[in-house]
Symmetry: C2
Subunit: 371 residues, 2 copies
Amino acid sequence: MDLDHLKKPAFLIDRAKVRRNVERMAEKAGRSGVSLRPHVKTHQSAGVAAWLRDYDVRAITVSSVDMAAYFQRSGWSDILISVPVNIHQIPDIDELAAAASLDVIVESPAAARALVGGIRQPLDVWIEVDTGYHRTGVPVGETDTILDVAKALGASRYLRLRGLLCHDGQTYAASGPAEVLEIAEGSFRALSSAVAELETAGLQGLSLSVGDTPSCSLLDSFSRPVSEIRPGNFVFYDLTQAGVGACREEEIAAVVACPVIAKYPARGEIVIYGGGVHISKESLTPPEGGPCFGRITRLRGAEGFWPAPLEDAYVSSLSQEQGIVKAPEALCDSVEIGETIAVYPVHACLTANLHPAYCVPGEGWLPKFRL
Amino acid sequence: MDLDHLKKPAFLIDRAKVRRNVERMAEKAGRSGVSLRPHVKTHQSAGVAAWLRDYDVRAITVSSVDMAAYFQRSGWSDILISVPVNIHQIPDIDELAAAASLDVIVESPAAARALVGGIRQPLDVWIEVDTGYHRTGVPVGETDTILDVAKALGASRYLRLRGLLCHDGQTYAASGPAEVLEIAEGSFRALSSAVAELETAGLQGLSLSVGDTPSCSLLDSFSRPVSEIRPGNFVFYDLTQAGVGACREEEIAAVVACPVIAKYPARGEIVIYGGGVHISKESLTPPEGGPCFGRITRLRGAEGFWPAPLEDAYVSSLSQEQGIVKAPEALCDSVEIGETIAVYPVHACLTANLHPAYCVPGEGWLPKFRL
């Protein structure tokens, strides 16, 4: 692909940055003696996932049954589906469990009973608990409910209870590293004491599966009973993670390259071919007010890398296929119609999801799963 | 598809509602003697577009060259690409212009000169003008710039200048019908006087191509020199359009059906399998505060239609594959895990874009274009 004469928006990956991001997380997991089971929903790509194998990653996390099936077909044999089971997909889960070592999560006795009724293959099950994100999961203090779910699962010889699973997504909205660590440490204490209570009640040998990208990036180590961590976004990182302090801007490994199609010096704006269907409507609120759908950098002559985001330039508005970039005078004056600029994503997972494939400049295109 | 036992989120279309929405717009265009050239980016589907033919629609608007090629392959032969030309796609535009009657838009002398240099097939060109949306287009008062673009286009015998094109997207943010009409009428006055000035300067026979969904829904008629209207969203409508007063809630012809996977009566929330990758992160701000990513209704036993949105229930948060629904006590108590609920979209175009196909309950699936 000729980045200087771009026909349409393209999701670019800096392979070297991805490798450094993965290497650091894998080393950290290794030092703590926990497994790294990355959440591949971030990229949904067998091509990107293949790079993980170089760092001894053998197990992955996905966010749907179809995505699990895609990665199973791509050669992955240890897969956790980390969204509470939709009871109508139990036949599909059962079928997939015959082809791979599959883990699922439940968080209600009703869903557990549905699994018992429908699963006839060995299946590992985690009980999701909620330590503060308040999306899904049994509230961590409700030991009785956890025991009810465990008891329901115990009615099937095909189901093996692995332990408690938690996602502290509230770290994405933290004010900075100190708050992320406070959340992570509070969550660990609550989970550990839940495990202790469950042991007292007779449930032995439970593991913990934890791990959002901010916590996993900022913690130095992980302690028992944590057996695995499941960060996903760290492979690419993005402006949200940089804002929380989970990464530095120069570690962001993915951008969306977009051609400039118009410029308006009087308005201090340029317009790119690249809209909500390429970048996603996820936004940050910069200090000065209106939404920011991405920060930008220029790609002139770039091959496989891109400069840091420009100061005072950001995507301020997104239509379906076009974006408006607030541009300081110097940029407005010098940018040319047809030039390629790149957008640093606010939330790389949602941006990546929109693209049919990814470009690794100088190497080629990586295929991916699509809904 | 069994809506009562839903495996994964599905974009549902009520065909009868679509037909009524299209019929009303086609009749209005017919009474005014203007062409209806609907913007099919809303659905991107040859299946939905085929229904338009029953109302004498013969020309369409699209938002990318690839989308134009898809509809050309689907049998459409009169296509306007209504995003300013990306100069690097001129060879593709030239190729497509050999297969269909193609219209494009430009708004700078630089882009016009690039077209002159690259087009060797007959191509209709509109000059985009900006009457207040401030996305793309020559500011409507800058007659000299419009003349510069027209002059540049005149250097090619393949290019035919059709007139001025405008999109008043600012109507989407209007406070209600009165403000929409004020915008539309102000825009029409500004465009008419621009055409008059251009005629004085020697440019004769210019047409006007106008039309956002709010204006086209609320205006009673269109006057010369308007020759065509290009609303898109009206085919489905959505909560944004209902909020502006461009439609009634019962005219919204598309929802996303989602299975319930968890419920939390203590939090007053239920959780659906259906997230940012199915619904999109476009949001409204309801009077009471936090973002609303969609309103909801129950589908129990539904076939091909759905009830009005529930009061006091809405999608308050979206993860990649899950959504949190704020639910009043009665809903929380009565909804069951595995039940299907439906989400009325905030912005149907972006929601539709995320789906690989659409379900018409009781009939089947409609294919669509994808990036």
